[in-house]
Structure formats: structure tokens, C-alpha cells
């Protein structure tokens, strides 16, 4: 029995969450440092995973398996493939930055503890709670990336909502005047909306999970997949399609796909910037990841059947999200709609059923996480300085805070996937992958890059350039802490943009597996086909 | 005449009693109607015992009476205390279950 690395990676933040929550109210800073320490430790464990993972090896590695609920054959089964390990790396990487960025977001001095205090009986301690919740989310997300038992995954998929709900509803944007009633109501509205949307998705998924158990008699991903492959488990076409839809709906809500997206702008708009990053860069990835791992692997036929519709929806998301981003007046909502557009790319890549598309989609998950984190966190720093989320309240920041403006611009350029930065690699892969199967979709989606340029540059022009606004006058430039948060992200963006090979080497084998699951082959180039 | 008519009568009385329970507001009258229903049941039981030729039906009727007695005692006590508390025996006045 080797060292249970996967369990450890998830358990560390979980225990850390408990420990952080247990820190006495007075020792606020200690709690922050503890949380940061734990997250870094998790990052180390994730790094060890990356090292010990052999790209060429078995599909699922570092596996663990214990009986859990014998009566239903629910097992505690863990295992990572290339995609999972990459996303675990992303999560573990982002959390320390999120914590560092949110260092002061939950300081009780200014925070409106009003809504918070109503959450827990007894002494609710905002700071400890904030960081504990973040760690809890990390633990669940990591474990959900590792789970190879459908039921286990489902539980995590749902449980994730609870800490997220408190993070969104409990810790409002400090940009708002504190104790502002309207802000509080909006925030709780956003939190409830987030919860309801995802719960509905989860319920439908639960039905599908049970249905799957009825059909397959097991929750184990490996068993079912093996049975499907060997043909010993045959699903009626309609059954498979219904189950697929059940799963897909939940994932489509989580990774907002048009028209199930409307919860994201509210949630990201109302939450603090770090939490917004947590939502879009970490939690939502579970949805797209699950599409790759569960939808395609469990229901290959149904996936192929649904592909055209999904690709169309994805294209709509891309264009629609971009257009709405152009129309936003609120920085954070703008980023949110941009994310919707990007998730459209991811989903399109997954269901294009080409290795370029799927590798691109996986890379996209990672890169989008990093780029959005960079952009959103800088936006958060900006907002925290001026105390407003409205684009129109800014102008000429570049003059007073050049470093802030510069990092913001780089984040923006990454968002519009400028070549040389990481997102370009993934976006182009997705586009090529899609184009080689659905040329029309590929071409329309390419419009997205123009729109992306539009909303990013408009945002930059209105906030950073032009004459210096009076309120912006004397705005301080990035502090050391903030710079330490942003600089590594930017470095990573550039590195992965210039040399993504390490990542692709890990991802490609997993994608090869998925492609064989759905029994699809990349279309041959015309010329070679002619030969 | 076929004794089954007793059953029809019982059914009729029971229905009337039930209707009374639903229609009347005065708790006492409602209570009487309940008694009426119980009696209807008893009649049916008695008739059945005649039908089957054994006495179990009558036994049940007997028990019914006993239970009815107990019920009446408690029920009337409740009514009285209710009347004391709010100077009326109307069941509608005791409508605090509403949100």
C-alpha cells in the first residue's frame, strides 16, 4: 500500500480548512498565513503528482480504491489521467494567488459583518471563514478531479456549492459602500441564483446517476467503461441519450453554456475578485472536465449523437458572450461574459471530437484559468482602489499607475488570446480542431477573436487611457503583495505561450484515450486523402 | 324484506352525520353528528353480525360504544374549556392554525 498521494492532495486543504476555521477570532493574521501555507503545501503535493505521473503509462494512475457504501457498490475510487492531473495542477496553483489576492477582503474592520453574522450560530468569524471556505472549495474541486466513481463525483459536485454559496453571498465586493443594503440584497440574489441553477442541474444529474446505476449496476467509471468497451454492457439508444442529457445538463450549467449562463455574471459581479476567480477559473472547470471524462467516456454514442447541437450552442455562447461583454458597463460582469465566450470555445473543442479540439480544450481550461485570474485579480486591485465597478468611473489610470495598467493590459491581451501568450495556443487548437470537422462553426467562432479584441481594448481604453479622471488622481500603483500575485501568473502565461510542450505531452495521451472511447479519428488532410 | 336495508339505512345515517360535521359550526352539534356516524357504524356492525351469524360484529359495536363514551367525555371537556377560554363553542373561532 503506497502513500495515498491523491487522497493527501485533497485531504490537506480539507484539514487546513478546519484548522483555519478553528483559529481564534483574535488571531486573524495567523489564520491567513495558515491558509496560505496549506495552499502552498497542496501545490507541492500537486507538483509531486505531476512528477510521478508518467504520460505514457496507464490511463488512470496513482489510483486508490476502497469500499465505501457496499450496498450500492459505491466505492471511494481515485485516479488521475493527464487531463485531471493538469487541472489539479491549475487548481493548486491558483489557490495561493487567490488567497494572497484576497488577503484583506475579509478583514472584519470594514467588512459588513451584518449578513455574515446570520450564517452560523455563535461567533461567525469572517476572516477565518473566508479562507477556510476557499480551502474547502479547493479540497472538493481537487477530489472531484480525482474521483473515478460516479457517485463520489456527484457528491463532490454538489457539495462544492455550499462553500461557494457562502463565499458569494457572505463576502461582498468591498468596492461597494459597506453595509449598503442594495448591494447586500443584490449579493444574496446572486448567491441564491448561483445555488438554484446549480442545484437544478445537480438534481437532474442525480436522476441520471441513479439511472446509470440501474442500467449498469455499478458506479465505477472504469468498470462501466470497460463493460461498454467489451460490449457486455449494452444500453438502449434512448436510455443512453437520456442519461447523457442528464449528465450534460448539469455540466452545461456549471460551465455556463448558453442559455444556462445567466447566473455567472451575477455571481462574478457581486463576489469579490478572488472569489470570482475561484468561480470561473476553478469551480467551473469541473463542469467542462466532467464533460470530457464522464459524458464522452460513459455515453460515447449519445455524445456523438448530440455533438452537432452542442457545437451550435457553443458557437452561440462564443459570439453571444463576446457581444454582451462589449455591451457591459461593469468591469467584472464584462470579464464574466468574456468567460462565457471562452467556455463556449472549451465546449466546442471538447465536442469537435478531434484530438486538436480536445487537447486544445484541456489546455484552454488551464490557460483560461490563468489568464482570467490575471485579468480579474488586477481588476480587483483596481476596483479596491477606486471603490467602483463601473468602467465609466475610470480613465487615465495608465498615467498614475503604469504598472497596474501594464499588468491589466497583459491580462487583457491574454484574454483576447494574443499569439505568444498561452491562451492563443489553446484557442487556435480548438479552432483548428473544430474547423477540420465543422468548417462553418470554425469560421463563425473565429469572429470571436475580433470581438474579443473589441471588448478588451474598449475596456482598456476607457479605464486606462485618456485624460486622468479626478477620482483616479493619486491612485497608488500596485503594492508588492499585489505584484507578487500578478507577476508569476504573467510569467506563466508567457512561458506556456512560448513552450506549451510540457503540458501537451501530459494531455495528449489522455485525449488519445478519449478519442478511442468515442471511436473517432481525426479527419485526414484532403491532399493525403487524395493520394 | 331483506335485512340488507339496515345497511342502506346505516349508510344514509352515516352520510347525514358526516354532512352535519361539515356544515355545523357549533362544536357540540358537530360532536353529536360524530356520535350519529358512530351509531350508524354500530348499526352496520350489528347487521353484519346477523349476516355472518356470529357475535364478533356485536363485540365491535360494543367496543365502539365504549370508545365513543370515552371520546365524548374528553371531547366535551375540551369544548367546555374552549368555551371558557373564548366564550363561544364555534369551531371556526378556533382557527389559529392559519399562518
Amino acid at each position: 500500500m503506497s502513500f495515498p498521494l491523491l487522497t493527501a492532495t485533497a485531504a490537506l486543504p480539507a484539514l487546513g480548512a478546519i484548522a483555519t476555521a478553528a483559529v481564534p477570532a483574535a488571531r486573524r493574521t495567523a489564520a491567513k498565513w495558515l491558509a496560505l501555507l496549506v495552499s502552498v503545501g497542496t501545490l507541492v503535493l500537486a507538483a509531486i503528482q505531476l512528477v510521478r505521473f508518467e504520460p505514457g503509462g496507464a490511463r488512470y494512475q496513482l489510483t486508490e480504491s476502497h469500499a465505501w457504501i457496499k450496498d450500492f457498490g459505491v466505492r471511494y475510487e481515485l485516479g488521475v489521467d493527464g487531463i485531471g492531473v493538469a487541472l489539479i495542477g491549475l487548481t493548486a496553483l491558483l489557490i495561493p494567488f487567490i488567497i494572497a489576492a484576497g488577503w484583506h477582503d475579509a478583514d472584519p474592520l470594514e467588512t459588513s459583518a451584518g449578513p455574515d453574522s446570520s450564517f452560523a450560530a455563535g461567533r461567525w468569524r469572517p476572516t477565518q471563514g473566508f479562507f477556510a471556505l476557499i480551502l474547502a472549495v479547493e479540497a472538493m474541486v481537487v477530489l472531484s478531479f480525482e474521483a473515478t466513481d460516479v457517485f463520489l463525483f456527484y457528491i463532490l459536485f454538489e457539495a462544492m456549492l455550499i462553500p461557494m454559496y457562502f463565499l458569494i453571498g457572505g463576502f461582498g465586493d468591498r468596492a461597494h459602500a459597506q453595509g449598503d443594503e442594495a448591494a447586500a440584497t443584490q449579493r444574496s440574489y446572486a448567491a441564491v441564483k448561483f445555488l438554484l441553477y446549480n442545484l437544478v442541474g445537480g438534481l437532474i444529474m442525480l436522476a441520471a446517476v441513479i439511472g446509470l446505476y440501474v442500467v449498469a449496476g455499478s458506479f465505477s467509471l472504469n468498470e462501466i467503461a470497460a463493460a461498454r468497451a467489451s460490449g457486455s454492457l449494452h444500453m438502449a439508444t434512448n436510455t443512453e441519450r437520456l442519461l447523457f442529457l442528464g449528465f450534460f445538463f448539469a455540466f452545461a450549467v456549471k460551465a455556463p453554456l448558453w442559455p444556462l449562463h445567466t447566473w455567472l455574471p451575477n455571481a462574478m459581479g457581486e463576489a469579490t475578485a478572488p472569489v470570482a476567480v475561484l468561480i470561473t477559473a476553478v469551480v467551473d472547470k469541473v463542469g467542462t472536465f466532467a464533460m470530457l471524462r464522464f459524458c464522452l467516456q460513459l455515453f460515447p454514442e449519445a455524445s456523438k449523437w448530440a455533438t452537432p447541437v452542442i457545437v451550435v450552442l457553443a458557437v452561440i455562447s462564443i459570439i453571444y458572450g463576446a457581444l454582451l461583454a462589449v455591451g457591459q458597463r461593469d468591469i467584472k460582469r464584462l470579464v464574466a461574459y468574456a468567460s462565457i465566450s471562452h467556455f463556449g470555445f472549451i465546449i466546442m473543442g471538447i465536442f469537435a471530437m478531434t484530438s486538436q479540439g480536445q487537447s486544445g480544450a484541456t489546455l484552454y481550461m488551464v490557460n483560461h484559468g490563468i489568464s482570467t485570474a490575471a485579468l480579474m485579480l488586477v481588476a480587483g486591485f483596481l476596483i479596491s482602489r477606486r471603490g467602483s465597478r463601473l468602467i465609466s468611473d475610470y480613465g487615465g489610470v495608465q498615467k498614475v499607475a503604469p504598472v497596474l495598467a501594464g499588468t491589466f493590459l497583459i491580462g487583457g491581451l491574454a484574454t483576447l488570446s494574443l499569439p505568444g501568450l498561452a491562451p492563443f495556443v489553446s484557442e487556435f487548437l480548438v479552432l483548428v480542431g473544430t474547423f477540420s470537422r465543422y468548417p462553418a462553426a470554425g469560421v463563425v467562432a473565429t469572429l470571436g477573436i475580433v470581438l474579443a479584441a473589441l471588448y478588451v481594448l474598449v475596456l482598456y481604453q476607457r479605464t486606462m487611457t485618456g485624460p486622468v479622471k479626478a477620482e483616479v488622481q493619486g491612485m497608488p500603483d500596485l503594492k508588492v503583495r499585489e505584484l507578487l500575485v500578478v507577476a508569476p501568473l504573467i510569467g506563466l502565461l508567457i512561458f506556456l505561450g512560448v513552450y506549451p510542450k510540457p503540458l501537451t505531452d501530459i494531455v495528449n495521451p489522455a485525449v488519445r484515450q478519449t478519442m478511442s472511447d468515442v471511436q473517432k479519428k481525426d479527419p485526414n488532410p484532403v491532399v493525403e486523402a487524395a493520394k | 324484506m331483506n335485512p340488507v336495508n339496515y345497511l342502506y339505512l346505516a349508510a344514509l345515517l352515516f352520510t347525514i352525520g358526516a354532512a352535519g360535521v361539515l356544515i355545523r359550526r357549533n362544536a357540540i352539534v358537530v360532536f353529536m353528528c360524530v356520535e350519529l356516524m358512530l351509531n350508524a357504524c354500530n348499526l352496520a356492525f350489528v347487521c353484519f353480525s346477523r349476516l355472518h351469524g356470529n357475535l364478533d360484529g356485536q363485540i365491535i359495536a360494543f367496543f365502539t360504544m365504549v370508545v365513543a363514551a370515552a371520546e365524548v367525555v374528553v371531547g366535551l371537556a375540551i369544548i367546555v374549556s374552549l368555551f371558557r377560554s373564548r366564550h363561544s363553542a364555534s369551531v371556526d373561532d378556533a382557527s389559529l392554525m392559519k399562518l
Binding site: 448558453w258 445567466t262 453571444y320 457581444l323 454582451l324 462589449v326 455591451g327 457591459q328 486538436q356 487537447s359 486544445g360 487615465g396 491581451l413 494574443l418 499569439p419 505568444g420 492563443f424 487556435f428 487548437l429 483548428v432 474547423f435 477540420s436 468548417p439 470554425g442 469560421v443 473565429t446 477573436i449 475580433v450 479584441a453 473589441l454 481594448l457 474598449v458 481604453q461 487611457t465 485618456g466 485624460p467 486622468v468 512560448v498 513552450y499 506549451p500 510542450k501 501537451t504 495528449n508 485525449v511 481525426d522 479527419p523 488532410p525 484532403v526 491532399v527 493520394k531 | 360535521v21 361539515l22 359550526r25 369551531v91 371556526d92 378556533a94 382557527s95 389559529l96 392554525m97 399562518l99
Partner: protein, 648 residues
């Protein structure tokens, strides 16, 4: 040796990184560092050039595979370079002119507190442009392609506090993005067609692909070229790009970046040769732009905008030439190089004039400057002679060749093209003479001229440092500015001769672009003669209009065409009405829909559920009797059910 290629790019890239990341402490030495690194890469280029000359014509192509960039199954993107004669030409042009302009900028940007950042951007541009011309596959070229777009964005918007500058920068980037979209689609088609996008594969196997796919690739590449090279219909950004500092206009928007489109088409010649229809489209685009730019150039009073118009039309010439196929490629590139020299020189001259005139850009406020800034006058004049194609100067050789090639296209279109190019030559002569005369001759209209009107576009902030509020006193620019001008003037005088005489340039490029003479219906000397005649006509007209009678300080209303031309022939108005307005309406309505419709459906469901439960709540009225009724009803239903069961 071939490691030097990577170094070629690395040098300016390093400079950019250091200058942009390094803090204010670099302000002192930043510009020197930038210039040094630019110079270094020029030296490397020169070394490579010599090395290349050392080899025979067929073995001059050098390729250098650096590392595998994006390997995903069939999709193998590598970072690799290919240095052949074509790239080499560009390398020398870019690094050479680039270095000169670095030097020029030292003086020009002296008073700007962000000079370090400026040089960082310039280096970034050099690196990106070199990557563009050195890439050995289209995807890497795409990286450079967008890289130069970024650099141009940063440099146009360098004076970000000016809303006009910021807007112009954004506009440039967006219009370029439209072109980039074309390029990326082209790459996708290539991948699906050839399974690769390396020059060797794509250009080698063009024959294997269906004409439909080739057409698609060609058109998409043309779209990309239009975006980058400011060809109709994507030309609208170039005029506004003049908001940037003048050295930028000289380097990016005259000499190098805007010619990337020509490079792209020439590079992809094999594809275009395969589909004549697309070539026709290319020719049409070139021709239209040629006239468009020329007409705009005639109407502008802003000296930089006038030059921008001329740039547009000159590039029109080049594109037209590339559209002619193997007849034209060489001359397109040749004109590109010579144009690089004299247009850069002209812009630098213009910059020098503005430098001396408190950044006044309105030519109607110039006049008689020749005796105040002689060096500028001479260099500018030489550039002027070069561009109008004065016999013996570089423009004469290159442009003349293009006109010949146009005739050589043969058939009616040959005649048409020839005529148009000749007309273009005449107009070029006209508007350049106009610029020349209005600036350096005539009465000194800047005396007693009040400070530039606030609405005057392109008032550069150095104005404040100059103290713009007193009457301008023109003066010659410092050495750091004049020397590059002089060098470029030399280039614009002799380059043409060096290239043209004995077809040296043709021989040099032939291995890459292939070349055939075509069959010109008219003798060479007739074309030359015709050109000279047109030229004289143009000059004569201009002198008659602006030299003889005084130039009004305020532009006359002018004919409809003039007014249209002043507004870039209404291009922007069209864009504004159709794209901007339409887009705004679209997004606004979408935002509304997203809130009311998509979100509304969900909220509606929630509301209806709430209403229903509210109505159900009324059943719980607390009356024991109504509960009894429901209970009784339930009993009835149950009995009915059981009876029915029995009955069934």
C-alpha cells in the same frame, strides 16, 4: 552560422524585455540600449547577408529548426526559421531603417518622460517584424503578424492621454484583427488541406489541392494582407495611425509593417499563381487602393495624413504588382524596398518640420521653410523626387518597372492597368509636389499664425515643452535627427539604381519568387516616356495651383470630391454608421434580451411557482371544517378508487 538567425530576433526581444520590465532607473540609458540592440541585429543581418552572398543562388536558403512548439497528433507547429533572399531583403530593410529611426527617435523623443518605454516598444516591434519575415511556417508568421499589430497598437497609442490617440490605436488593432481572422482561417484551411502549414509543405503541394481550397486560402490571405497593408476595404486605420509619434509613422506605417501584406502575398506566390481569379481580385484591390490613396493624399492638409495617403497608394502599386504574378513579385518587393527608403525619409523630414514648427501639422501654416531648415529641405526634396519617380532616382526604377509589368499583363486588362498606374503616377507627382510647395516654398504663412486650433488633430505633447503659445521660430533639428535623414536620402537616391541597373534585384530574388518578363505590348522606352510625361503633368498642375497663387490659410470648401477625400472618401463615416452604430444597437439590445428574455424565462418560472404556492396557501385557512371537507373528499376518492379496482 544559422544560430545567428535566432540571435537576430533575440537581440531586440531582449531589449524590449529589459526596457519594459526594468524600472525608471533605466531612463538614463534606455534609449541607448535600445538603439544598440537594434544596431546589433542589423550587424548580424549584414553578416548573414554577406554569408549568403558567399553561396550560390540555389543554396542560399537557410533553415533553422529551433524547437517543437505545439505538437498535437497531426498538428505539428514548430518554431523554425527560414532565411532566403526574400527574408534577407526584409531583414536588411527592417533592421537598417529600424536602426536609423532608433537614432532619430533619440532626438525626437528627447522631451518625453516615457522615452524608455518608447524604445522598448520599438524593439518589440523589430523583434516581431523579424519573426514575421523569418518564420518558416504560417503559424509562426501569424505570431509575428499579430506581434507587429500589438507593437503598432502600443506605439500609435503611445500618447495615451490623448483620446484621439487611444482611439486610433484601438481602431488600428481592430481593423488588423479582421485581417488576422483571415490569416487564421487561411491557416485552418491549409491544415485541413495539407495537414501542415509549413511553407515547404503548403507551397510545395499547392498543385495537389482543389482549386476551391486554393481560392479560399488565397482570398483569406488577401484579406489578411488588406488588413495589415491598409488596402481597401480595410485601409481606414492608416490615416488615424498618424496619431502616433512621427518616427513610428516612418518605421511602422511607411517602411516596414504596412508592407507585410506584400510580403505575405509574395511569400505565398505559389498559391496565388494556382488560382488566377484570386490574382485578379488582388489586382483589383491594389488598383482601387492605388487611386484611393492618391486621391486622399491630394486633399489632406495635415502633412502626415497626406503622406499616409501616399503610402496607401504606393502599397497599392506593390499589391497590384504582386497580383500580376511572377511578372510582378520582384518589382513589388523592389518598390517596397525603395519606398521603404524614401517614404521613411519623407516622414522623418515631416517629423523634423513639425519638430521645428511647434508640432504644427497643417501645411497651410507652413511655407518658405527651405531657408530655415536646409538639411530637412534637401533630404525631403530628394525623397520627393524619388517618390514621384524622377528619372535616375530609386522611385523611377521601381515604379517604372511596375507600370511596365502592368502593361505586360497583356490583353485589355493589361492596357487598363497600365493606364491606371500611369494615372496614379501623375497623381502621385501632383500631391507630392503640393506637399513640397506648401511646405518649403511660397510665403511664410506661419508668421503671425496663432497657435494651432485646439481641435487640430495630432498636436503632440512635446508642444507643451516647446511652449506652443508663442509664434513658431523654425529651426534645424539636432544631428541625431538629421543624420538618419541624410542616410535615408542616400538610399532613396541610389537604391533604385543599384537594384535596377542590370536587373541585379531580379536575379537576386528570382530563385524565391520566380520571374518572367511577360510580353509587353509596348516598348520599354515608350512606357518610360509616358511615365515622365504624366509626372511632368502632375508637377505642372500642382505648381500652377499652389506655387503661383498664394495658399489660403483656411482650406477652401472645395469640390464634392475634395471634401469627400478630406474625409477619407467617407470610409470612416460608412464604418461609423454601419459597423459602430449597428454594433452598439446590437449589443445594447442583446444586453436587454439577456436580462429580460434568457434570465426572464427562469425568473418567470420562479415567480409562477411562487404564485401557485401562494394560491395553495389560501387552502390552509385554519378552519377545521374545511380541513374536514378535504379529508372527507379524500375518503370519497379512495373509496371510489377501491370500488373501481374491484369493478375492473
Amino acid at each position: 552560422m544559422d544560430n545567428l538567425i535566432a540571435l537576430l530576433i533575440a537581440a531586440p526581444l531582449l531589449g524590449a524585455a529589459v526596457l519594459l520590465c526594468g524600472g525608471r532607473k533605466l531612463d538614463k540609458a534606455g534609449h541607448w540600449l535600445g538603439t544598440l540592440l537594434a544596431g546589433a541585429s542589423f550587424v548580424i543581418g549584414a553578416v548573414l547577408f554577406v554569408d549568403m552572398l558567399g553561396r550560390s543562388a540555389d543554396h542560399r536558403t537557410v533553415t533553422k529548426h529551433l524547437f517543437s512548439w505545439i505538437p498535437v497528433e497531426g498538428f505539428q507547429a514548430d518554431v523554425g526559421f527560414q532565411l532566403d533572399q526574400l527574408s534577407m531583403t526584409f531583414v536588411l530593410l527592417i533592421t537598417g531603417v529600424g536602426t536609423l529611426i532608433h537614432i532619430y527617435s533619440i532626438g525626437y523623443m528627447e522631451h518625453d518622460e516615457n522615452r524608455r518605454r518608447f524604445f522598448g516598444y520599438l524593439n518589440l516591434f523589430l523583434a516581431a517584424m523579424l519573426l514575421l519575415v523569418l518564420a518558416d511556417n504560417y503559424l509562426l508568421l501569424y505570431v509575428g503578424w499579430e506581434g507587429v499589430g500589438l507593437a503598432s497598437y502600443l506605439l500609435i497609442g503611445f500618447w495615451q492621454h490623448k483620446p484621439s490617440a487611444a482611439t486610433a490605436a484601438k481602431k488600428a488593432f481592430l481593423v488588423n484583427r479582421v485581417g488576422d481572422m483571415g490569416l487564421s482561417i487561411a491557416i485552418m484551411v491549409m491544415f485541413t488541406t495539407f495537414g501542415s502549414f509549413a511553407f515547404s509543405t503548403v507551397l510545395g503541394e499547392t498543385g495537389g489541392a482543389s482549386s476551391g481550397r486554393n481560392t479560399a486560402i488565397g482570398l483569406m490571405l488577401l484579406l489578411a494582407a488588406c488588413g495589415k497593408s491598409a488596402q481597401v476595404p480595410l485601409q481606414s486605420w492608416l490615416g488615424d495611425a498618424m496619431e502616433g509619434p512621427t518616427p513610428v509613422s516612418a518605421l511602422i506605417h511607411a517602411a516596414t509593417m504596412v508592407t507585410a501584406g506584400v510580403y505575405l502575398i509574395t511569400r505565398s506566390g505559389a498559391i496565388f499563381n494556382a488560382v488566377p481569379d484570386v490574382q485578379t481580385v488582388v489586382v483589383i484591390v491594389g488598383t482601387v487602393t492605388l487611386l484611393f490613396g492618391a486621391i486622399v493624399g491630394c486633399a489632406k492638409d495635415d502633412i502626415k495624413k497626406a503622406l499616409a495617403g501616399s503610402t496607401m497608394s504606393q502599397i497599392g502599386y506593390m499589391v497590384l504588382a504582386t497580383g500580376l504574378g511572377p511578372i510582378g513579385y520582384v518589382f513589388a518587393i523592389m518598390h517596397l524596398v525603395t519606398h521603404g527608403f524614401f517614404k521613411a525619409g519623407l516622414f522623418l523630414g515631416a517629423g523634423s518640420v513639425m519638430h521645428g514648427m511647434n508640432d504644427e501639422v497643417d501645411m497651410r501654416r507652413y511655407g518658405g521653410l527651405r531657408k530655415y531648415m536646409p538639411v530637412t529641405f534637401v533630404t525631403f526634396g530628394l525623397g520627393y523626387l524619388a517618390i514621384i519617380g524622377f528619372p535616375g532616382l530609386s522611385g523611377f526604377f521601381s515604379k517604372d518597372k511596375i507600370i511596365e509589368a502592368a502593361f505586360a499583363k497583356g490583353g485589355t486588362e493589361g492596357w487598363i492597368l497600365g493606364a491606371v498606374t500611369l494615372l496614379g503616377a501623375a497623381i502621385t507627382a501632383y500631391y507630392m509636389t503640393r506637399v513640397m510647395v506648401m511646405t518649403f516654398f511660397g510665403e511664410e504663412r506661419w508668421k503671425h499664425a496663432k497657435t494651432p486650433a485646439p481641435d487640430q488633430p495630432g498636436v503632440e505633447p512635446a508642444a507643451q515643452t516647446h511652449g506652443a503659445h508663442d509664434e513658431p521660430h523654425p529651426h534645424e533639428s539636432p544631428k541625431s535627427m538629421t543624420i538618419p535623414m541624410i542616410v535615408l536620402a542616400f538610399g532613396s537616391v541610389f537604391a533604385g539604381g543599384i537594384f535596377g541597373i542590370g536587373d541585379r534585384f531580379v536575379k537576386w530574388l528570382e530563385p524565391v519568387t520566380s520571374f518572367d518578363h511577360g510580353n509587353s505590348p509596348v516598348a520599354e522606352w515608350t512606357v518610360t516616356a509616358a511615365t515622365i510625361v504624366c509626372l511632368l503633368i502632375g508637377v505642372g498642375l500642382a505648381v500652377a495651383q499652389y506655387g503661383r497663387k498664394p495658399v489660403p490659410a483656411v482650406a477652401p470648401r472645395g469640390s464634392l470630391l475634395t471634401r469627400a477625400a478630406r474625409r477619407d472618401l467617407l470610409q470612416d463615416d460608412f464604418n461609423h454608421v454601419v459597423l459602430v452604430r449597428g454594433g452598439e444597437h446590437l449589443t445594447r439590445s442583446l444586453v436587454y434580451l439577456d436580462h429580460s428574455l434568457v434570465d426572464g424565462v427562469v425568473n418567470g418560472t420562479a415567480a409562477s411557482v411562487g404564485g401557485l404556492s401562494g394560491r395553495l396557501r389560501k387552502l390552509q385557512n385554519g378552519f377545521a371544517r374545511s380541513y374536514a371537507v378535504s379529508m372527507f373528499g379524500g375518503a370519497v376518492v379512495i373509496i371510489a378508487a377501491t370500488l373501481l379496482m374491484r369493478a375492473v
